[in-house]
Symmetry: C2
DNA sequence: GGGCAAATTTGACGAGGATCAAATTCGGGC
DNA sequence: GCCCGAATTTGATCCTCGTCAAATTTGCCC
């Protein structure tokens, strides 16, 4: 059976937000047309899972907008977040067997998806594409190593501050669905998800958030809206040794 | 000027210990010969640095024997270990600019090194090589993500135990330079290096090692020799919730 | 608008490491 | 074999989170 067609439409590069930054930007017009024909644009709502751990056939896709969470479930049933993806990242393994992790949308997202077979074939046909994927994967590996090692040496406060700073940077400023007042940022994650992402406990996240507010660095409204009052202080709090 | 020739000899695949597991195993005889001609076999002594952070031209190499440490130095002058490599791993970036990290031999090692330019050219000439590198890099990225996330949730004891278990598995049993009695394992790392690798403090590593000895799991001799008395207990200690 | 269940916040407390400070022990060089 | 400096071990204490337990707050459905 085909995928649920309701969330999918033909891939359409013309209005793709990342068309000159995504992996496919290395293709010429003709090759791009063929490549696009093998993929489909797919919308996934916040919280929706794109791929389940253990799926027989992994998804290959370019994230064109939104944000994804890569996670897995441990033997003990806990969720462990192993990474995140932002446009124009490519996700998926064209080679491996069963999918080793779960991919979930943190916020409403758009993907340009390909079946593993189709993607793999495109890789064979387009050397430039393969080269670009190699380049990106190596860069990602390096980034992942650096980030993870840095994260490991950071305390709870800096982690939360860094996440907040990151979100505010990644989010097309102020244009978050219908907030009358600009500057407010709607967190795409619950406290529990933030905790899993940062490898902390819910209570600790809550406390650190409270501390940032008490320090006048951010302001909160409801459970999920925050406004950064002092970005300098926030980034300062994201590095060790801060007050 | 050429590299210090004393530690280098022509690449010689015939007696390469990893010839059917390394990245080059995908090449046919002719291609392999050309590839080998562009590289050199290099011996690096324990502690010697193969590449410095910031080097203009990064090294590309296959590790044929030994073990390497990938690290970087933070702004604050501390060392941060971001990964390790064991045969038949490939290290280096054929693309990036200045080297982003330092590569140091943990124990005496043999590398099959290529200049970035030469390696890059081989990649262009041999599609199979490029494909294999992509495959491995993706696998390595996944492994890195999984490992790091697991490590983050482990306490000090399990980390030390896991490291010990890992070393004993990676080391061609007993054949460690001239120990009369078999079973003894010479740690290639000082306490400080172990601490950096596991993101712990020297004192903590020392205490955990002491605890393992007191528990009868390992035996120590001098500063660097250990013998695993109870591998089952050691691997048990490497997972959470242990006694 | 009131009532609820779930999410979040707050508080008390404890355990695991980090830190600071010695005391030892190794390994070499002479 | 003796001496010395560096690495390691040990001890005491502090601090940061994780845990367990409420007390609140929010969002939402009637």
């Amino acid at each position: 059976m085909a995928q649920q067609a309701k969330n999918e439409t033909p891939a359409q590069c013309a209005d793709c937000l990342v068309r000159n930054r995504a992996i496919c930007h290395v293709l010429d017009a003709g090759a791009l047309a063929r490549f696009a024909a093998s993929g489909r644009r797919r919308h996934v709502a916040a919280g929706e899972t794109v791929q389940w751990q253990g799926d027989d056939d992994g998804v290959c896709a370019t994230l064109t907008s939104g944000a994804l969470k890569l996670s897995l479930v441990t033997e003990t049933g806990e969720e462990r977040v192993v990474g995140t993806a932002y446009p124009p990242d490519f996700i998926g393994s064209p080679f491996a067997g069963a999918a080793s992790m779960e991919v979930t949308a943190l916020i409403d997202s758009e993907l340009c998806v390909f079946s593993r077979a189709a993607f793999s074939e495109s890789l064979d046909r387009n050397r430039a594409l393969e080269q670009e994927l190699l380049r990106r994967t190596m860069a990602e590996l390096e980034r992942s190593r650096l980030d993870d090692s840095r994260l490991a040496s950071l305390g709870a406060g800096p982690r939360v501050a860094a996440l907040l700073a990151d979100f505010s940077k990644r989010t097309p400023a102020g244009c978050d669905a219908g907030d009358p007042d600009a500057g407010w940022l709607r967190l795409p994650l619950s406290r529990g998800e933030i905790a899993a992402l940062l490898d902390l406990r819910i209570e600790t996240v809550s406390r650190e958030l409270g501390a940032l507010e008490r320090a006048g660095v951010v302001q909160r409204r409801g459970r999920r809206d925050v406004r950064i009052l002092d970005m300098a202080a926030l980034t300062a709090a994201a590095v060790p040794q801060a007050a």
